[in-house]
């Protein structure tokens, strides 16, 4: 290979900069910029052809918002140099096949769209594009494939039609109609069991939450009625019609979708989030209807901008606000809707939740005269629609809104929401307000919340966080452990060692001994020690952590069985009942220091003592963080095994090549070490599986119990409590779907069997349908 000289590098960098920047704001017209660039590139083709083609192919996937700018550029190049056009098409087709094989579906979709638009630029023969579409649609006829597979291929074709529909309609009407009939047949036959699992709102009022393909198809039918004319896509090639018409066109080679494999993961289906319609926009340009193709095109581009800039919230907000056609659309409304559509996306938002919060703050700063009003209007509408909103989404707004308020001095027209105190406290609205206030409390302090919200909300204002130490409370004299607790208190204050603390606890009688011979844990010992320790550490998180660190040994000793650990957690709850955040943080710490195990946390959360807390959001914060910790632990062990195997493999290869080994290198894993690591990994994996089984089983028990009780009493099962809990079950499935999918057959055979109540089974079936 020839060495690249610095001159070459300079020229290549300059070419890259010229190509990637074309279509940005400029003093001259886009047409003259394109014309100029095409001439420059033509001159450089003899020396830099491959580089130029590669840069262009990169632009296809990296700058899809300028798609038509680049198709026009390729068109102009092809008109000047037929071979170059041909080689570009070849390269892009190769990339497309590669993307399909390696399941980079979104990139593949953009390439399909690019190839389609190349027909408009007279680079590709229209008939050959239709053949590609046909071979994509043949996937529908395959046997034994998941619906998500054929869905994607249909989606890839549909999402290119706004660009190429008009041309197909004019040049190939018969074939195009046939294609549309095929798609129509497919759309009407699709299974939609998965839809309820993905809906932000259960209700279709005021806007239906449509499945993404259904919605796109409806938009396409509208576009067809408008004779495939839309008002959103910039089409720079129209200006060059004279030149482009003269060009010779290429025929696309056959592109056959790679066949289905069991482990191919296709994009999950989604629903289309709608918050606003045109009546919500008071003045200015009209919001395109939900079945207007413009709505799809604008939303897609806004989503793209967010995707590109999500790491820089300031750039992201600026890019959103300088949307190309901003004067023709109610941009602020569309931005807010798209931001919330991502935040509420199920199973999870594409980016960290706090990204949306900090970007919305940025948007408010950049448009202080209009954005805050739109955001307030959206918040108001979300609040009004809480009753039918999915629990996961209610939690996400509560979390976002508290953060937003904390950035704007907690100012809000609270009085407008005062009606929520008059209904059952478990209803969504009062629950939402209570949870928002809890979160606000965590970001500020109690007095601030009391001063901020009107007195009417007093029932929903969280209590002032404080600890409770029963061995010093009124009436503690008669408790069996009080004397020892006071001794322990004194001993710890005198800086006793863990061993000395254990000695103090030694003489406590075990209340379980009366019934059992050899009780698995000592509830009184645990209660006295844990309550006293957390009481002494109650000043701050740091104090509590230090207490746990110092007496780690004692905690491990007294809570060495699962029952003991659950008992420890129950004591923790009694001490910190009025400080949710402390419970969250301490459980986290106890897990990380391996004093308690994940399964103990799950069983504790489902215990009778926690039933009044069960609908509260922090319980689920603990549940998910516990599951996540288990998952992280497993993947860490998996990674370690892989790494060691790789290292050993590399070593063997080097030995085979006759290289000497450094005998002092203790980084070299032995076979026995790897075996031990694998054992550890397998243990962790079985713990992970049993954690999920415990959780699902406990869900089934409490839900079955509720359903049976309601039926027995002849009352409606669909209570607020039921809503919170069944949707939390759904949430466990969704948030951890990658893992839970691995256990599907176990779950089906063991837990979600046909004899359980249909309402519970249905949640499982909807989940399974996400990938079928």
């Amino acid at each position: 290979k020839r060495r690249r000289t610095s001159d070459t590098v300079d020229i290549e960098d300059r070419l890259e900069s010229l190509i990637t920047r074309v279509g940005e704001k400029s003093t001259s017209s886009l047409e003259s910029n394109l014309e100029g660039l095409a001439s420059v590139l033509e001159a450089d083709l003899p020396n830099y052809k491959l580089k130029i083609l590669k840069i262009l192919c990169d632009c296809v996937v990296k700058l899809p918002e300028k798609l038509t700018v680049y198709t026009t550029l390729v068109g102009l190049l092809n008109a000047k140099n037929y071979n170059c056009g041909g080689e570009f098409v070849e390269m892009l087709v190769r990339n497309l096949k590669e993307a399909l094989k390696s399941t980079e579906f979104d990139n593949a979709r953009i390439m399909v769209r690019f190839l389609s638009d190349l027909v408009n630029c007279h680079v590709i023969v229209v008939g050959s594009l239709l053949s590609m579409f046909d071979s994509f649609l043949e996937v529908m006829l395959e046997d034994n494939i998941p619906q998500v597979r054929s869905d994607w291929y249909v989606y890839a074709v549909l999402s290119a039609l706004p660009w190429i529909g008009r041309e197909l309609f004019e040049k190939k009407e018969t074939e195009f109609n046939k294609l549309l009939i095929t798609i129509d047949g497919y759309i009407s036959k699709r299974q939609k069991i998965h839809v309820p699992a993905l809906k932000v709102w259960i209700s279709d009022f005021p806007h239906p939450q449509e499945e993404y393909l259904d919605c796109l198809w409806a938009q396409m039918k509208n576009l067809r009625q408008n004779k495939w004319v839309e008002k959103q896509i910039l089409r720079p090639y129209l200006a060059f019609d004279g030149v482009l018409c003269e060009a010779l066109q290429h025929t696309l080679p056959q592109i056959i979708p790679p066949s289905h494999h069991e482990d191919t993961v296709y994009p999950l289906p989604s629903i289309v989030f709608r918050l606003f319609d045109y009546t919500d926009v008071p003045e200015g340009p009209v919001l395109p209807g939900s079945h207007a193709i413009e709505r799809y095109l604008i939303e897609e581009q806004l989503n793209r901008i967010i995707h590109t800039h999500h790491k820089e919230r300031k750039d992201c907000s600026a890019a959103l606000l300088s949307f190309p056609t901003k004067n023709k659309i109610p941009l602020n409304y569309m931005i807010v809707e798209v931001m919330f559509s991502q935040l509420f996306r199920l199973p999870k938002p594409p980016h960290l939740e706090i990204f949306y919060g900090s970007a919305l703050i940025e948007l408010c700063k950049l448009q202080p005269g209009s954005m805050p009003q739109v955001l307030a209007q959206a918040t108001e509408m979300l609040y009004e629609r809480l009753d039918t909103m999915h629990t996961s989404c209610i939690e996400r707004i509560a979390s976002w809104f508290s953060y937003h308020l904390s950035n704007f001095q907690f100012r809000w027209s609270w009085d407008d929401w005062s009606g929520c105190v008059d209904v059952d406290a478990l209803f969504p609205k009062p629950t939402f307000v209570r949870e928002v206030l809890y979160k606000c409390l965590r970001l500020s302090y109690h007095q601030r919340i009391v001063d901020t919200v009107p007195d009417t909300f007093s029932a929903l204002i969280p209590e002032k966080p404080s600890s409770y130490y029963k061995y010093e409370a009124e009436g503690s004299g008669s408790l069996p452990g009080t004397m020892i607790a006071h001794q322990l208190l004194a001993a710890i204050k005198e800086k006793c060692t863990p061993e000395e603390a254990l000695l103090v606890l030694k003489d406590l009688p075990n209340p379980l001994s009366e019934e059992e011979n050899d009780p698995s844990y000592h509830p009184l010992r645990i209660d006295v020690f844990v309550a006293t320790l957390f009481h002494l550490g109650s000043k701050s998180f740091s104090h509590s952590f230090a207490a746990i660190a110092k007496f780690h040994y004692v905690l491990k000793m007294i809570a060495d069985t699962e029952d003991g650990q659950i008992c420890l957690l129950k004591t923790l709850f009694v001490v910190w009942k009025k400080h949710q955040q402390m419970i969250v943080v301490l459980v986290d710490k106890l897990l990380k220091t391996q004093i308690i195990e994940c399964s103990a946390v799950a069983n504790w959360l489902f215990s009778r003592e926690m039933s009044s807390e069960f609908p509260k959001f922090y319980v689920w914060e603990i549940m998910h963080s516990t599951i996540n910790k288990m998952n992280k632990h497993v993947s860490k062990l998996q990674r370690e095994v892989e790494d060691s195997k790789d290292r050993l493999e590399m070593l063997r290869r080097r030995m085979a090549d006759g290289l000497e080994l450094d005998p002092d290198d203790d980084d070299i894993p032995s076979d026995e070490m790897i075996e031990r690591m694998e054992e550890r990994m397998e243990t962790a994996m079985s713990q992970q599986k049993s954690l999920f089984l415990i959780i699902f089983q406990r869900f089934i028990i409490i839900l079955t119990d509720h359903l049976a009780r309601c039926e027995g009493n002849g009352i409606d099962y669909n209570t607020p409590w039921y809503k919170w809990i069944i949707e939390r079950l759904q949430e466990i499935f969704l948030l951890h779907h990658e893992l839970v999918f691995k256990y599907i057959s176990t779950l089906e055979g063991l837990l979600f069997t046909s004899d359980i109540d249909f309402h519970i089974l249905e949640v499982f079936q909807q989940f399974c349908a996400l990938r079928s």
């Binding site: 790491k311 820089e312 919230r313 960290l352 939740e353 706090i354 990204f355 919060g357 900090s358 703050i361 979390s399 953060y403 904390s406 950035n407 001095q409 979160k439 965590r442 970001l443 500020s444 302090y445 701050s540 998180f541 740091s542 952590f545 955040q581 402390m582 943080v585």
Partner: protein
């Protein structure tokens, strides 16, 4: 040395957080910064003489990515009505929590 320092900063999972109110607590820091990732520890900056909070702290994450997310999203937003400023820190060492008294 300087290059050593730069290397530490590039791999660091610790942030220096400044411009805090003297009344802002560890609890509040946890709430904000846990939204960006799993917080390993928070060390409050203390006045050398009185050992009371004096407007800064260190936040350490388990991974670099989580710390980067905090730089992206928490930096420049408000806590207790004050705009928090985060910066990379080479890693907390005992004694550094004491500000100038």
């Amino acid at each position: 040395s300087r290059s050593e320092q730069e290397r530490l900063l590039l791999d660091s999972c610790t942030l220096y957080v400044g411009n805090l109110s003297f009344y802002t607590t560890e609890e509040q820091i946890y709430e904000l910064f846990s939204r960006c990732g799993d917080v390993k520890r928070v060390v409050m900056g203390l006045d050398k003489v009185n050992k009371t909070p004096c407007g800064f702290c260190f936040v350490e994450y388990y991974t670099r990515e989580e710390a980067e997310d905090a730089m992206r999203y928490a930096n420049g937003t408000r806590l207790d009505d004050r705009i928090v400023r985060t910066d990379w820190d080479a890693g907390f060492k005992e004694g550094r929590q004491y500000g100038r008294g």
